[in-house]
């Protein structure tokens, strides 16, 4: 009832091809954006903005990047954090070395630098597939972090190898408070998410999915393998690179190459698998889950244990958190192997029939 699309007729091609063809979706997305832009900044505390919402958006963007590569083009990658590092360090260097460079441009250039590196490390994908490729992308992960540590030029000869980002100033306006930073990140993420949504419905996206589903068949019908795969690597790395630049500028402020380690790559991979492989929405859901859940466990494990009258030995809470987190991942996969996005889809199916399921 709530989600019935019957009676919505598409009279023109433009209507048929719009990004959200169903009216309820349009309303929902508009409402969501309105809340995100107009309500949340004024309701959320600094803690929520700084420690949860900004990283949530940034990691969603990185997950989105990985999802383009893994979920849509079917190329498993474990080098996400490496590409983020390229984005962060490249943006820093553009900003540092070119006086007049506007910050948004240097972030975009950071993304482009990451895209170039992505293309280089994407070359092996023309020959190798699956887990073999995944392990090969680890080479990117380790090599990038090694190079950033090893060559002091990247960190402007700082003795400790870390970089400290400057002010975020756009047209003379300084984005300083958590609220401003949140809005800026939100705007960038929303734009890039919409672009991604559009891209995956375009010819490019369809080519990616054809390669994902069966590359031999795709090649037979005339999809250019090299062009398609490398484009996926480039676009994906661009998203990750911008996420890396935002991570450095809008979130942490001071970053070291080791911050972009393999753990982070895995964390982002978890996000898309939990959220839903091959789903834009899934990237956001997964990022939310992977970021919020450990925090939730950490905040409430002790109080809950106290309420139950169990006195946990010191350190035990951390171990239990890890165990519960692992068990929940397994549980989720057993119940819904296609991720949270699939759950949402099932929910929509239900709503379509609700309240008369027959």
């Amino acid at each position: 009832m709530l989600y019935r699309e019957a009676g919505q007729f598409k009279a023109t091609y433009a209507e048929d091809q719009q990004i959200f063809p169903i009216r309820q979706d349009r309303i929902a997305i508009t409402a969501l954006l309105l809340v995100a832009f107009l309500v949340i900044p004024f309701v959320a505390s600094d803690y929520w903005l700084k420690a949860i919402l900004i990283p949530f958006l940034i990691f969603s963007l990185a997950a989105l990047g990985l999802n383009i590569l893994t979920g849509y083009a079917g190329q498993l990658s474990l080098g996400t954090a490496g590409f983020m590092a390229v984005g962060a360090f490249a943006a820093y260097n553009f900003e540092l070395r070119v006086e007049w460079m506007p910050i948004l441009v240097s972030w975009a250039l950071g993304g482009l630098a990451a895209a170039l590196v992505g293309i280089v490390f994407g070359l092996p994908s023309l020959r190798i597939k699956g887990f073999y490729l995944a392990v090969a992308t680890l080479a990117a992960q380790f090599f990038i972090v090694w190079a950033l540590t090893k060559f002091p030029w990247f960190s402007n000869y700082s003795s400790s190898g870390v970089i400290t980002t400057g002010k975020t100033e756009i047209f003379g306006y300084v984005f300083d408070s958590p609220r401003e930073k949140y809005l800026l990140v939100l705007a960038i993420v929303v734009l890039m998410a919409l672009a991604a949504k559009n891209m995956v419905r375009s010819e490019t996206g369809r080519a990616w999915m054809a390669v994902r589903d069966m590359d031999v068949a795709a090649e037979v019908v005339g999809i250019r393998m090299m062009h398609t795969k490398l484009l996926a690597f480039a676009v994906s790395s661009f998203y990750c690179g911008v996420a890396g630049a935002l991570y450095a500028y809008a979130y942490i402020g001071t970053v070291e190459p080791e911050g972009f380690n393999l753990d982070l790559s895995f964390r982002i991979l978890f996000m898309i698998i939990i959220g839903g492989v091959g789903s834009i929405l899934g990237s956001f859901l997964g990022a939310g889950f992977i970021i919020l859940f450990p925090i939730f466990l950490n905040s409430y494990a002790d109080p809950i244990a106290h309420a139950l009258g169990i006195d946990l030995p010191p350190g035990m809470t951390s171990n239990l958190e890890l165990m519960i987190f692992g068990a929940l991942i397994i549980f989720f996969l057993a119940v819904e192997p296609h991720g949270l996005a699939r759950l949402w889809q099932i929910g929509k199916e239900k709503l379509r029939l609700w309240p008369f399921p027959h």
């Binding site: 959320a44 003795s159 400790s160 979130y251 942490i252 402020g253 070291e256 080791e258 950490n298 951390s318």
Partner: protein, 450 residues
């Protein structure tokens, strides 16, 4: 079908999550004006470095609990704590910091991030929130220049002081700085920002004293060092400085044994000088020397007080009581002493028996003067070096002791050894000045501080 079951069973979960989300934001206001001094514990009790994290925060909490039990805190203000697991991960460290900074009646007193990465991540956030950062023996070395970094305290000693003190120790062992000439020293370092910290200082020392310095990198995590030690065997150095972290340290000791390099000639950094680094290496660690700004052992009045007032009453943070008195634990006790002394000093200025704000505690840290007499009162004479912090100098001591692993425990080998202060200080000031210039920070005028 499956989905509907899930939908039903998820509903309470969702409700809890929503309730929790509201709680996360609001739980700070609950503690009204209690006489409590809140200390956030952003540490790690799980993962590869859990032994260090649990030991350090165990010692710190035990010391402050001992004060609570014995003296009723500082002038009646008791210390309270809350733990937050960072997993040694920068993003989680930031979240922990943000979550805990406003708790307690006066907010976080100060924060010990116990991770260089997290220290960097909150370096610019903490001053805005008026929470002092204490990074004892890690973090940003040039923060020792208090004119540029008023809120950051790399207390007791920094990596650069340590590197210099190591050379002084070697010179002493060889019988004078002139004997260093022509000696070969290898720096075996963890290939990361941390491992690169001592390069510049050691290179300067090498130039000045005329010894050969070879830098050999070990890739993270360092559980494989065959190639590096074969290189070392070729060079035949007189000393190897081990600048390692985690599993790299026992592996290095094992590999030294494998290649027949004498462990007496290996000098470890303080993150390579705990029981966690030597015990896994077994016999291979015997004779190995490491730097430290605190010593191991339980034979100090302050540890005995902890055993009496904390463990004697069935409390205490350590699961494994044999770790009381270990290097990391004692380092935590040092952190506890510094924390309590800073609060005490702040109270004398801003009101005895009142909980202090971060800003007031910062004032206290900057005026800490823990001399030998005070250390004796605290029961910690020889346990840590005397400490005198000023507005200029946020390091406060720079002294290092060298300890030898005898196969069972750490034995103190030397008295407190001085670094080459001028060399280190010049470097700190140059680096801090560069940072100040980049960030547009005006140097604080220390003569105006009262």
């Amino acid at each position: 079908m499956k989905a509907s079951i899930l939908g039903r069973s998820l509903r309470p979960v969702a409700a809890t999550l929503a309730a929790a989300a509201i709680g996360l934001g609001a739980s700070g206001a609950a503690h009204a004006q209690a006489k409590e001094q809140f200390i956030p514990l952003t540490g790690y009790w799980v993962g590869p470095y859990a032994a260090g994290g649990s030991g350090f925060f165990g010692g710190m909490v035990d010391y402050l609990t001992m004060l609570n039990e014995r003296d009723g805190g500082v002038n009646g203000v008791k210390f309270t704590f809350e733990k937050c697991e960072t997993e040694y991960n920068n993003a989680r460290g930031v979240e922990c910091y943000e979550r805990l900074k406003k708790k307690g009646p006066t907010g976080a007193t100060l924060v010990h991030p116990l991770s260089t990465g997290i220290t960097y991540s909150i370096l610019e956030k903490a001053p805005q929130d008026k929470v002092p950062i204490i990074s004892m023996g890690y973090g940003r070395t040039d923060a020792a220049d208090g004119r540029v970094f008023p809120w950051v305290f790399p207390l007791i000693t920094t990596y650069w002081s340590q590197a210099s003190a190591m050379i002084n120790y070697i010179a002493k062992k060889e019988g004078g700085h002139d004997k260093l000439k022509g000696k070969k020293i290898v720096l075996l370092y963890h290939d990361s920002a941390y491992g690169k910290e001592p390069h510049a200082v050691l290179q300067d020392e090498a130039k000045r004293h005329g010894f050969d310095l070879t830098l050999i990198a070990v890739a993270h995590p360092g559980n494989e060092q065959g190639a590096q030690w074969q290189q070392i065997r070729q060079i035949r150095p007189d000393y190897v400085i081990l600048w390692g972290w985690g599993v790299m340290n026992p592996t290095a000791l094992k590999a030294a044994q494998k290649t027949g390099f004498p462990r007496e000639k290996m000098i470890g950094v303080w993150w390579a000088g705990a029981e966690e680094d030597t015990i896994p290496a077994g016999d291979a660690a015997k004779g190995y020397v490491a730097a430290g700004f605190n010593v191991a052992g339980t034979n100090y009045p302050v540890i005995r007080e902890i055993q009496k007032y904390v463990y004697g009453k069935g409390k205490g943070e350590m699961d494994d009581k044999s770790r009381v008195g270990s290097i990391y634990y004692n380092r935590g006790v040092v952190a506890g002493i510094i924390t309590a002394e800073a609060v005490r000093l702040a109270q004398e200025r801003f009101g005895k028996g009142q909980p202090m704000t971060g800003e007031q505690v910062r004032w206290g840290i900057e005026r800490l003067n823990i001399d030998n007499a005070r250390l004796k009162q605290l029961g910690a004479e020889g346990f840590m070096p005397p400490l005198k912090v000023t507005c200029q100098d946020h390091e406060g001591s720079g002294l290092v002791k060298f300890q030898e692993w005898d196969g069972k425990q750490w034995k103190v080998l030397t008295d407190w050894i001085e670094p080459d202060r001028k060399l280190v200080r010049d470097k700190i000031e140059a680096s801090a000045a560069a940072y100040a210039k980049e960030k547009g920070i005006a140097l604080r005028d220390c003569s105006k501080e009262n």
